[in-house]
Symmetry: C2
Subunit: 386 residues, 2 copies
């Protein structure tokens, strides 16, 4: 949460709208763009002046939801569950989401210690079939592990199949992963992934538009996909049948100008048919992490490491500065060594290291981490200058 502890009016208004307006509703987004969140919330609470663009029935539905919304209660419940609300304009808000225009989320509920904005800077989505084959699970896990080892954050939807294999692959490589859920982030879905999603919340980030306690619906999965697409530099579809939801994510990514990629499979496999259709439509064929990075790594401002740190050391958060200071000058160190040096947990160290990776300060080196050449240069320059 940004600002002082007491929530400001705009924050309360966005938490309120997050409860009242369905995710992805572009009419609600337009209202907020034209009138501001506070005014839109006031009108929905008061029932007048009536907002334009919706039917009587839909307006009545909005008012009914508004009547039962209690943003202070939502924020308190979130705080108790270790969940924060990140909204446009916050330092943690991922600017890429602004590409969604009026379908931009009112805000995101976030569980986990890493900085979502920093992580999203170097992130790739891996999505695919829930009922994937062993081949699909293998490819998802391998790509995720290899992307994590190259310092990329793996984003997926927390579902069974490809999503789960991707999250596990990243975690297994000591890497960073983000689960974007279609329900409240305190309410893991599917139930069978409760343990996995809780582990992601400890070692990575669990993110969602829906307020704490809310449940997923089929349409919410679809609109959730646009967040995965917008958050990342590119989307890789690992396995997907025709008409699969993963293809929706891929098409959303394409509309947003993101890279879309597909992993080929046997032409005889129904679970590769959707991917092949995507590839025939112009998506990039990828078979390993190097090919993924070759594409997404070239995204200009999203790949700051090539030009060295983009944020001066002094502007880093204190916890992140401590991690940076704990890195040895001339060799790689494991996350555990860095955690020891900075007197924090390994999970916290990993979270900060990936932030520093996004900012161009550090890079993964095998199983460890080391300062980039540019970071060392800027550190020396800093010392000399100060």
């Amino acid at each position: 949460m940004s600002g002082p502890d007491a929530p400001d009016g705009e924050l309360l208004a966005r938490v309120f709208l997050n409860r009242v307006v369905e995710p992805g509703d572009e009419i609600g987004g337009r209202w907020v763009r034209e009138l501001g969140a506070v005014e839109v919330a006031r009108r929905l609470r008061d029932g007048s002046p009536r907002l334009a663009g919706v039917s009587d029935k839909r307006w009545a539905g909005l008012l009914s939801r508004a009547a039962s919304a209690a943003p202070e209660r939502d924020l308190a419940a979130a705080r108790d569950a270790g969940v924060r609300f990140v909204r446009p304009g916050d330092t943690e808000w991922p600017a890429q989401l602004d590409d969604l225009g009026d379908a931009r989320p009112m805000g995101l509920w976030v569980r986990g210690r890493a900085n979502l904005r920093m992580w999203a800077l170097r992130s790739v989505a891996l999505v695919g079939a829930r009922a994937c084959t062993e081949y699909g699970a293998h490819m998802a896990a391998t790509l995720a592990a290899d992307l994590a080892e190259r310092g990329w954050v793996v984003v997926s939807g927390g579902a069974y199949g490809v999503d789960g294999a991707a999250h596990r692959g990243a975690l297994g490589a000591g890497g960073a992963t983000v689960a974007v859920l279609a329900c409240g982030v305190d309410r893991p879905y599917p139930r069978g992934h409760t343990e996995l999603i809780n582990r992601i919340a400890r070692q990575g980030l669990v993110v969602g538009e829906l307020p704490p306690g809310d449940h997923p619906t089929p349409s919410r999965f679809i609109v959730r996909n646009r967040v995965i697409a917008a958050l990342t530099s590119g989307t890789v579809v690992v396995e997907a049948a025709y008409r699969s939801g993963s293809l929706v994510t891929a098409r959303a990514a394409q509309r947003l100008g993101r890279h879309i990629m597909g992993v080929p499979g046997p032409a005889t496999s129904a679970l590769s048919a959707g991917v092949h259709e995507l590839l025939r439509g112009g998506a990039n064929l990828v078979t390993d992490a190097a090919e993924v990075v070759e594409l997404v790594g070239g995204m200009g401002e999203l790949a700051p490491d090539r030009r060295g740190p983009v944020l001066p050391r002094d502007l880093l958060e204190p916890d992140t500065r401590h991690i940076l200071a704990a890195l040895p000058a001339s060799r790689a160190a494991t996350a555990a060594e860095v955690a020891d040096g900075a007197r924090t947990t390994v999970d916290d160290a990993v979270a900060r290291l990936y932030e520093l990776r996004s900012l161009g300060y550090v890079e993964r080196h095998g199983d460890g981490w080391k300062l980039t050449r540019q970071a060392m240069t800027s550190a020396r320059a800093g010392r000399t200058g100060g």
Copy 2:
């Protein structure tokens, strides 16, 4: 053989050059383009005036080969083996081969009863690894069978693996197939495919640049690939490792403006790695025959069936006219029925039916054949007019 039974000078010269100049030699091709085959043959036989563009050593090599060349003997041996020589300008010469420029073959040795030019009009190359996987063999056989059922001629190289599976798939569907060999067409290679290649000669066509009795060399496989590429409307690579010869065929096809296609496979398969590389380079991903035909079927003058017959009935060869006359007016007939009606063998009927398919007179209908709407119209018009 075209023309009267006694071979003319140009024919003898080309048979001679076919023995003396290595296939694909562009210097030899340029000589022929500039001086004509007869004059080039005379100079190589006489040793003067010397031809330009080759080293002393190479010139001596050519003269030595010329000294032992005996075109009449080659033609006699070929005739005994049921092999004919088809050269540029012959009615059976596939005009597409002219796209090869100075690398155009001096001529082709052909075994089999079908008309090579007619068959090549609607043909697709299926090529791939010799040591293919079961998946590769399955895809090759299935694509070949389905292409054959759609009236397309399947061209391949007669090798083990993908080539063999493609030929067998086409033959198994009662379809048309052409093997383009890198050795004399009377000398099947590999030896283990002797039976298959002889069967192709009976039911399809076996074609090659090299004179009867000649053996294959590694470089001859490579130059043979350009003939496969040029002869067909497109080349499908089914399975190929990095640096595979099939990729040479595909790149040759691309340079010639033909469609190049690849069948995807598991990203984990080394035998799909070359195909994936090709697809990443812009080749078309195909997973079934419909997708292949969607591409190659749109090749303008190479898909005459859309505009009805391209050759008037009167210009058809008598044997082919008999087959056409044996087709019932309003229903499909099997090749066996047609053969019965035309008092010929099934193999001969199939050969002619595929020629008629290329010319737009007939189409495959399940397991049988029927007249196209355009053929029926032109037949009625012919009757009315006559």
